[in-house]
């Protein structure tokens, strides 16, 4: 079953879905395992696993540091894919890889897609690969039935959203605001208007990410988005209180 279908099925039973994010190898794969377990057991619907990259230009300080520390630990792309396979085999929710394009490019796009498919990965988020730059990528995604997840931004025009909608699969990742990951967003009138524009521009489920930090934020999204994305917040939590704090945090979000 492909990503969009899985999410639609899960959405039938819930007001809003929850996607969370981890940086692979940070603080360790061991910790990643525990964090994923707690996330799944507390009702997370989808997890994006970031393969660390030395130049994460779209990430804010928290995820940036996690990328660097993971690489300093010696994390490799092969380890990340193997870990993804292990998770997908263990838990019955969709797992995605998030990373930067160079990781695929250098690994070999063909090889990356083949290995990701074998790992039963459902989708890919590559923030620095706009559709214009990814002809081969989108072809391979289709062939391998792995959803290329595209991003709407507050700066995207209607026309641009249409293009993105036509190329993306799985869901549309709506970035809540300008800027990088990890900063609080405010969900005022501008935001509602933007979200309405997003909804009009695609029939795919829409996920809202960037700066969602607590239950209140998620409540505000119910009825307007299909999925809320929790990013840097769990990394901060693990940094401060350890992996075991993740479960209670997730539980408290609904």
């Amino acid at each position: 079953m492909q990503l969009e279908q899985i999410l639609r099925q899960r959405k039938e039973k819930k007001d809003i879905l929850l996607m969370t994010h981890i940086v692979l190898g940070y603080p360790s794969f061991e910790a990643n395992r525990e964090i994923v377990r707690q996330m799944v057991e507390n009702g997370v619907d989808c997890i994006e696993m970031q393969i660390p990259f030395s130049e994460p230009m779209a990430d804010g300080p928290v995820i940036l540091k996690a990328n660097q520390d993971s690489l300093a630990n010696g994390t490799t792309v092969a380890q990340c894919i193997a870990f993804g396979a292990e998770m997908a085999a263990t838990y019955d929710i969709p797992f995605l890889f998030m990373t930067y394009y160079n990781i695929l490019f250098k690994h070999g796009e063909d090889r990356f897609f083949t290995e990701a498919k074998e790992a039963n990965i459902k989708g890919l988020i590559i923030p620095d690969l706009p559709p214009e730059m990814g002809e081969n990528f989108f072809r391979l995604a289709k062939e391998n039935e792995i959803a290329p997840i595209l991003i709407f931004a507050p700066t995207s025009t209607q026309e641009r959203m249409a293009t993105l909608d036509s190329m993306g699969q799985g869901f549309i990742y709506c970035v809540a605001r300008r800027g990088v990951t990890g900063k609080k967003s405010s969900f005022g009138d501008d935001f509602n208007e933007y979200l309405a524009r997003c909804r009009n521009a695609t029939r795919m489920p829409i996920a809202v990410g960037f700066g969602i930090q607590d239950k209140e934020d998620i409540e505000a999204l119910k009825g307007r988005a299909d999925m809320a994305v929790i990013g840097s917040q769990t990394i901060r939590l693990v940094d401060e209180q350890g992996p075991e704090a993740v479960g209670p945090f997730i539980q408290g979000l609904r």
């Binding site: 990259f53 030395s54 130049e55 994460p56 230009m57 779209a58 990430d59 804010g60 300080p61 940036l64 540091k65 660097q68 690489l71 490799t76 792309v77 930067y100 394009y101 160079n102 990781i103 490019f105 250098k106 690994h107 923030p127 620095d128 690969l129 706009p130 214009e132 730059m133 595209l150 991003i151 709407f152 931004a153 507050p154 700066t155 995207s156 025009t157 641009r160 993105l164 970035v175 300008r178 800027g179 990088v180």
Partner: protein
């Protein structure tokens, strides 16, 4: 936005619209002859263009081969070719109606140039600079601040140029509406490589006239150092369709086999990759993680290189060589003593290769070395590299004065 297999614009979606606007404005400027005239007027009255082409008679005699000419980008306002690009982008920013500029800087020269431009045009200005480079180039930081810019030391990654670029992008995606990112070299997402090259092409536009006047014909070869590649592209541009041989000189650091260098197009340590918004030859490991680079010259200490140069390299239209830190200090020394000219450490790389080849070139041929900037800004690095005892004494005594007073 591609040059052969290289280039492109690998940018986060949030920047899409901004890049559209930039493309449009750039094309409009390019097609508007009045824009280039305005640019020339600005460069003529605010900077010092045309910069001279100096016949280096003593160096020529010393090597006994080709007639050596030096293109004096050091005489630009702010002391380097960086001004060409920055002032051009300043005019574009004015047209786009934006009020804030940001920039990355390695050696500090692009930061200086941008802070200068921002002061001149009345823009707010933030400069991102790797923490290591802040330490290497403190005087530049002082001046940038004095011109009203905010200098942010970047503490991530290798804390050099590439990290400053990442951080500048992070600022940009946050402040797209108000802000233009003044990219400092012929790298990054399209249209930057082409646009920066366009502004820098003023160098070869001038030398082509000048060398004809001074030498009667085109030069046999042109040498330029290659960090990001903007001074090389600028000094090569109008010769691409001529017989002049073009030579790019990269940072050989401790030696091209040492792993401690920044040679992307000569040597075998680099491979194709995509980062910082564009595809080129990067110094990266097999997983695509960027490597630390090394050079005595902060401005060459960079993992990537202009995609246009990668294309010209692939097509063998430009030859690439490397100069080691040690060779650079020797060439700098000789140039100071024989010509009374102080090239920047970056520029000195080009001098190294020219000196190696000059003796083998006929005496009735000319070669041009593009002197991208002046070295007197690098005093802390150069005096340090020469291990100058009275310099150390001077610093120690100054520090003692500050310590006792504070």
């Amino acid at each position: 936005g591609f040059f052969g297999n290289w280039g492109g614009a690998y940018i986060p979606e949030i920047l899409h619209q901004t890049f559209q606007e930039l493309h449009v404005e750039y094309q409009r400027a390019k097609n508007d002859p009045a824009f280039w005239q305005e640019y020339l007027h600005l460069m003529r009255t605010y900077s010092c263009r045309p910069t001279p082409l100096t016949y280096a008679e003593n160096l020529s005699n010393h090597f006994g081969g080709a007639r050596i000419f030096i293109k004096r980008e050091d005489l630009n306002h702010t002391g380097a070719h960086k001004a060409n690009n920055v002032m051009g982008q300043g005019l574009l920013v004015k047209r786009m109606g934006k009020k804030r500029v940001i920039a990355e800087t390695g050696a500090g020269q692009h930061g200086m140039a941008t802070a200068t431009m921002a002061a001149k045009f009345g823009f707010d200005c933030t400069i991102y600079m790797g923490e290591v480079d802040v330490r290497r180039q403190r005087p530049n930081v002082f001046w940038m601040e004095k011109m009203g810019a905010t200098v942010v030391p970047v503490k991530d990654g290798s804390r050099t140029l590439k990290d400053a670029i990442n951080e500048a992008f992070r600022d940009w995606v946050t402040n797209i509406d108000s802000t233009h990112y003044v990219f400092g070299t012929a790298c990054g997402p399209a249209p930057f490589p082409e646009m920066v090259t366009w502004f820098q092409s003023i160098i070869s536009e001038e030398t082509k006239e000048q060398i004809k006047e001074l030498h009667g014909k085109l030069p046999a070869r042109i040498y330029a150092c290659v960090g990001g590649g903007s001074n090389a592209m600028g000094s090569f541009y109008h010769y691409l369709d001529t017989d002049t041989e073009l030579v790019g000189v990269e940072a050989g650091g401790h030696g091209i086999d040492s792993g401690m260098h920044a040679s992307r197009l000569c040597g075998t340590d680099a491979s194709p990759g995509v980062a910082q918004g564009y595809k080129t030859m990067f110094l990266q490991n097999e997983d695509g993680q960027m490597l630390e680079t090394h050079s005595v010259a902060a401005g060459l200490d960079y993992v990537g290189v202009s995609p246009i140069l990668s294309d010209l390299w692939e097509k063998k239209q430009v030859r690439f060589e490397a100069a080691t830190d040690k060779e650079v200090m020797a060439a700098l020394d000789l140039t100071m003593k024989l010509e009374g000219i102080i090239p920047a450490l970056e520029s000195s790389h080009a001098f190294v290769q020219a000196f190696k080849e000059a003796p083998t070139i006929a005496k009735d041929e000319a070669i041009i070395i593009n002197m991208s900037g002046r070295g007197d800004k690098d005093i802390f690095t150069i005096a340090h590299a020469y291990d100058d005892p009275s310099w150390k004494e001077f610093i120690i005594s100054r520090a003692a004065e500050y310590s006792s007073k504070s």
